[in-house]
Symmetry: C2
Subunit: 565 residues, 2 copies
């Protein structure tokens, strides 16, 4: 009965990445009919936006989805990006783990799985090939190519079926895919809501969408600015591991430790290199290929003891308060809106990130459940809506710890409120290949919490002021209704005419009410929301702002402490 | 400012699976110091158990972990399995997506990621190579080889450094790995607790563990039976997709549709093939390579309309009530224990699975939180403890819906209770590459719920009987204390001797109390838990037992309904 090792290993196999994900499509987020289609929208939109922005183009996407049968759809997705050169088309759409986004740059996609995942799902459910048209500029000429292909799952490669050139008018990519066993839905986790949220996070984009019933939706731009292009930034020394150094040393074309370090890491000045040499006693003129693990480790340890300027944040481009507010206004038509963008900080020692929040109240804010408006949370990472797996996400974790009652919000259940949170980073620490939740790194949770409290406080002030205004209005009405009556009765009793009192009365009323509400009667002509940006950092006591501190040369101890945690 | 496509694609890259996971190690479950080390234990133990059982050997594993510095450990893991032949050693430990477990067979591992993940983590944190000794039988001879190697991450392959033969005494594999930035812990999610839970689910295994303080723990076998070897089973027709058929057709050596279908799918008899031919009008003598998508789809549709015997369950080997109880007794020393193993059913149409639960009360059951014993849930899939990501798991979801109060359990917070749930399947639908939670497929949630209610009802009976016994004991004491007094006083009054009353009194007391408790006075000598297996399916009304029903030839309508749901 006992089996020999050689027999047990007869069936040993090496799977290609595509084969692996064919067997485990739920790991790409393809589980459930509604979710699967939403993930397709997500991957295609994300890619189009990234491509357009990288090329400096204001993104515009057209999506057309037709129902061909029960749970059977045809999807046409067209963008106005720079296009894909012919030789990369099948690599983009048919090779898993392939892409141009593995750099240390802020982008929506980062794994090289999304587009090929969509082609895989289409092929798995319908057996139909993908059709792609790409128009792009090469050697100064505008070229157009149409290709029809399948994915060779065993080889993790495309399998060309047809190809023809065409004469395009402008650049862009159009893809046509069929899907079965998926469902279009307007529910919270459905494709339509995904587009709506995308527009909130990307007010500079335009989406024209035709739904399966032929209804056309035009989501217009709320802002006409192409976001500043994020730059590729070098990793910060504090975030680098010995393994990273060895990996860099092995694959570099630099000829000395010195040049390897200064060309691969940010903030690595001549002075810093000298400091490393002094601490480690390692000759930095040695050749990278000869780097030993122990040397890499000593360099990392030395870096750990040194002070550096904070990670460069030029690579991080937040949406910005104004744009967030525009996006939310366009979609939610709220009566109150407030956004805040935090200063950049780092997690895991050296990865910079920025948290932004927005709070919309009233209008179409929140979502309708059983004919009642409840609050909703819109999570984003690098402007991409996160729709699933909210349970373990840093954003959910952080919002749970906020004491909303403190801000006059008795319950999140019965309030027309939309809470928007966006995390910007060159490296968002996603928890799974489906990229639907962010790892609860303590620094990220902290920032989300702080940012939410800032906007919550603004809302509290607004709600208080609104209530006060209503009361004042009521009292003022009583005052203004009764005084004329009294005057008239008095005039009748005194047998005189009613005097001209309107202007005087209005002034008196305002002053009286101002005094009642504890305001300066000389100033309080209108009910206003005082601008109190000065106090908005009240709760933000633990925040370390690297750049400021280092430039002022102060507090290097506490910075050190932060890095050595 | 506008960039051309060709410039944007300059940095297009293809990552190897190892490179991808090097950048995303959290997707292998390596996030957090404690969790990372637990995952290493998990992967190594899982692999050793699978290998030993496949070879028909009772698994025995020795683990030795030494602390070398702050967050720096040396791990030695040795098993008594069949060993790994020389040419497969580096493929097992250095290639992602490689393995012998991609068959349709019940096994703990199934992804080909685990072992190479451990080597990757070791290399990433310490730069040290892996050391493996393997002793195996080849061509009837016992051979031994020792290898030292690193992983070439770019190539997803091993990089041999040293190799020597040795003369072994018996088969098995030993691996030595160093890790930094990990932490050994006795907490719930730590490595020690992982071993404890492993023993509950694998009472036939033995683990000898030496912790970083040098303390030696021997987890002995509670049962001496090698579990029956699960057989590889063919997929059930109801679970097959058109894409599966096309994939099989493309890679088969069979020469007709007919032989392809009968050799690749279970329950595919001559009669069934004839039925498919009649419904689809497709000539099943055609060559597989010519199979069109539309034909594959028509075959799948025909299968959808047909009746088949349920999936073969010979591939599923549950632990079994007796073994679960042995395992839990050995580890928890409870005062009450009850396990139940459900009959096999299917999810997603054609994937068979079995749910088992066990409930232990008292003794070391539950876990101590703030010096109080609380209930604990031990989740397992194919006998492997699931330690993380409980939130979205089918087991957690199911247990939440059980109305524990109905079973006399007022709160799960204050009761020394361990709830054990094991899901057995050839294809456990894990939610992520880290394999820590099971997708909440409705059929799985249903089964876990039913099985839990069955054991909960047993516990309720036990608790009731225990309470009754305590009351009875109390009353009986009062009776037996007072009657002698009365007799003595009566004897004094009557000026006679006290009669011999003890034997008579005991009998009378028992009969009196039995009557008081509504039992048959002639039988009730002891307080017993009546065996009431007959009613244990009370709640299980919706369960479909395929084999039974089909063998009896009854109820094919409702079966059909189940498959067509």
């Amino acid at each position: 009965m006992s089996l020999q090792a050689s027999e047990l290993f007869e069936e040993f196999q090496q799977l290609s990445p595509s084969e692996f994900f064919r067997k485990n499509k739920q790991m790409l987020g393809f589980s459930g009919k509604i979710r699967s289609l939403t993930m397709v929208f997500h991957e295609l939109i994300t890619n189009s936006f990234d491509a357009a922005e990288e090329a400096g183009i204001l993104p515009e996407v057209k999506i057309d989805i037709q129902k061909l049968g029960k749970e059977h759809y045809l999807l046409r997705h067209t963008d106005n990006g720079p296009g894909i050169p012919e030789k990369f088309i099948m690599r983009v759409y048919c090779s898993m783990f392939a892409g141009s986004k593995f750099r240390n740059i802020q982008s929506r996609g980062q794994q090289g799985l999304g587009c090929s995942g969509c082609v895989l799902l289409s092929q798995m459910t319908t057996g139909k090939p993908a059709k792609v048209s790409s128009a792009y500029i090469e050697d100064g000429k505008l070229k157009g190519i149409r290709m029809t292909f399948k994915m060779d799952v065993k080889k993790n490669k495309g399998l060309l079926m047809e190809k023809e050139e065409f004469i395009p008018i402008s650049t862009g990519v159009s893809i046509e895919l069929q899907f079965k066993e998926v469902a279009y839905s307007k529910a919270e986790q459905g494709a339509f809501e995904y587009i709506r949220r995308t527009m909130v996070g990307n007010p500079h984009a335009k989406i024209i969408f035709r739904d399966p019933e032929g209804e056309k939706y035009v989501f217009k731009r709320a802002a006409d600015i192409v976001p500043v292009l994020p730059k590729e930034v070098l990793p910060h020394p504090k975030g680098v591991t010995a393994d990273d150094l060895i990996f860099m040393a092995k694959h570099t074309d630099k000829r000395r430790f010195r040049s390897l370090l200064s060309s691969s890491l940010s903030r690595m000045s001549e002075n810093k290199l000298k400091e490393i040499e002094e601490i480690t006693k390692i000759d930095l003129n040695k050749r990278p290929k000869s780097m030993e693990w122990i040397e890499a480790e000593e360099i990392v340890q030395a870096i750990g003891k040194m002070n550096f300027m904070a990670p460069p944040t030029s690579g991080l481009i937040p949406i910005g308060n104004e744009q967030i507010e525009k996006g939310m206004k366009e979609i939610l038509k709220p009566e109150f809106i407030q956004a805040t963008t935090r200063r950049p900080v780092s997690y895991r020692g050296g990865v910079a990130f920025i948290v932004e929040t927005g709070l919309a109240y009233g209008g179409d804010s929140g979502r309708i459940v059983n004919e009642q408006r409840k609050s909703e949370i819109m999570r984003f990472a690098n402007r991409v809506p996160l729709t699933f797996d909210q349970g373990s996400c840093a954003i959910t974790e952080a919002l749970k710890t906020v004491d909303w009652k403190r801000y006059g919000i008795k319950s999140l259940d019965n309030i027309p409120l939309t809470i928007f949170v966006n995390i910007i980073s060159t490296q968002v620490p996603y928890l799974s290949t489906g990229k639907q939740s962010v790892a609860p790194e303590p620094e990220i949770v902290h920032e989300v919490r702080q940012a939410s409290m800032i906007v919550a406080r603004k809302l509290q002030k607004y709600l208080r002021a609104k209530k006060a205004a209503e009361e004042k209005e009521m009292r003022s009405k009583i005052f203004e209704e009764y005084v004329p009556l009294i005057l008239r009765e008095a005039a009748i009793l005194a047998e005189t005419d009613v005097p001209e009192y309107k202007e005087v009365l209005s002034k008196v009323t305002h002053r009286a009410l101002a005094e009642l509400f504890g305001e300066d009667p000389d100033k309080a002509e209108e009910i206003g929301l005082a601008d109190d940006r000065a106090d908005e950092e009240d709760d933000a006591d633990e925040v370390v702002n690297f750049d400021e501190k280092i430039e002022k040369g102060e507090d290097s101890d506490s910075l050190d402490q932060y890095f050595n945690e």
